[in-house]
Amino acid sequence: MKISYREALKRGLREVLINEKNSFLIGEDVGAYGGTYAVSQDFLKEFGAEKIMDAPLSEVGFTGLGIGAALGGLKPIVEIMTVNFSLLALDQIINSAAFMRYMSGGQITIPLVIRMTTGGGRQLAAQHSNSFEGWLAHIPGLKILVPATVEDARHMLRFAVNDPNPVLIFEHAMLFNIKDECDEAVKDFNPYNATVRRTGKALTLISYGGMLPKCLQAVEEIYDAKTEIEVIDLRCLRPLDEKTIFQSIAKTHHVLIVDEGWKSGSLSAEISARIMECCFSDLDFPVQRLCRKEVPMPYAKHMEEAAIPQVKDIVRKLQEMLYEV
């Protein structure tokens, strides 16, 4: 049976709250309101106020509390309403969560999970449409997961909660209503590996999160037997699974990276650089990128659409790379 990405996240969260005795969810409006994106709907009733903690508007405070609780032996799941507000908690996320283990010479373990929604596309304008996951992937000490499919949304959290390191999970706002089949008992699931969503020999299309369905749709639109495109879903932005990327390029010799973040200093730039460093001789064509336009997100629909890579942009780019050379 098909379920939504939202339902998948909800099942994953519920499973963890039931199975992990010391887990708890803390964040703004996770309880009485049911979660801004309804991921924890009815959980307050089911689990009670100790496990489902409605936090005050204190991103620094409750993220820091989560770190302390993890130090003290609990398994906190901190929900930051959206990535936009995580900026207030960046000090805690970076200077404490990411660094404390290293600064302490390896004594300290922080089994902390921070979940947040990310991405644009809903006409929420500049302050509510950011994609900072690639930016946070700059930081040693953090693991960054970006579920792009219903199955990943269902199963990633369990691994994150059992990871002794701080793990950030970015749930894309445009994916909550997508529906797909979901295997409740997946085998060989490793959220830290990239995965090939579609195999091909002509070109490697690298993407993640909210851009993945757009990439798959674009490939569908131009698909023909001669131009099979390989689509890689990164799934984890840090540590980056280079092996899957490099193996694919050895076969296709063409790369397009589609990243919702801005181009300058982005994750796409990082991937491109690593490809250049490690498999330059495999390339038959310069690495290409489609990214968010370098503007704060505009509100008007047509302008917002123009700012984020769309299916038609990906199609055009792929055609350019495949046929016009």
Binding site: G64, G68, G72, Q92, R101, M103, G141
Partner: protein, 317 residues
Amino acid sequence: MDTAMQMKILKDMRRVRKMEDVCAELYTKEKIRGFLHLYIGEEAVATGVINMLSPKDNVVATYREHGHALLKGVSSKAIMAEMFGKVGGCSKGRGGSMHLYSLEHRFFGGCAIVAAGIPHAVGLAMAAQRLNEDRQTVCFFGEGAMAEGAFHEAMNMASLWHIPVLFCCENNLYAMGTALVRSQAQTDLVKKAKVYAMEAERVDGMNVFDVIEKTKMAQDYIQREKKPFFLEFQTYRFKPHSMFDPEKYRDKEEVEKWKERCPIAFLEKKMREQKILSNEQLKLMDAEIEQEMKDAVLFAEQSALEDIADLAKDVFA
């Protein structure tokens, strides 16, 4: 306080002072680098509070934490080696003066971002509460931290959720060069804490008897009411903020005046009045401390440097 306890307190304060003196000297010799923040003048606060704790209790402190770590049980050897950047240090030389850690001693830093440790303490206390562990959680910070959002957010949550933290504000009147009156509209810090519906008391931080009395009172309250408590310790740092500070923001006379209230001299005087401290005892005590610090420096000198091959170790567990 019985005689033995007063002796112990005196010795602890002198150990902290001596260690700081040694650090300052080693800094000028460039054995210790980076930032170095000394606690000289404020010893009664950490000594009084931490002596009321047991090994299983949690402590979160700041970058001015050498004394706190020592008093919590971290050895002077491990602390000194850390300052030297040696692998025998309590953070394997990864943290330095500002990032002393010891999980074994429940000492959770060593945090160099002003106020950032305060919410950690709230989380630690919440964890202990939920896991039914019999441990207290104490958090130290300066009055400058009381202008930071992290302080306010943490105070609110601790009070709202009845999380048993002892908040210890070491009010030494200056945040680097900025006087409290020049940076905070409400300079009555007890009043400021009470805004969060939290009980709070002012303490003479130069008088270790007062420190101990008020700490005990706060601990009793926390134990009884299962709620947090805030203590403002009025104290003074006799030395510059760090080794880089030219101290242009305060008068020499002000510093000298506060030095007359030296917490160590104060306790000595009280003990002499009670006729429980002789010159011989003091000499013996100082000889022991001298030896301890000598051993610590020797240990630090002899401790190995971490292998560069291990640079990337411990980024992840």
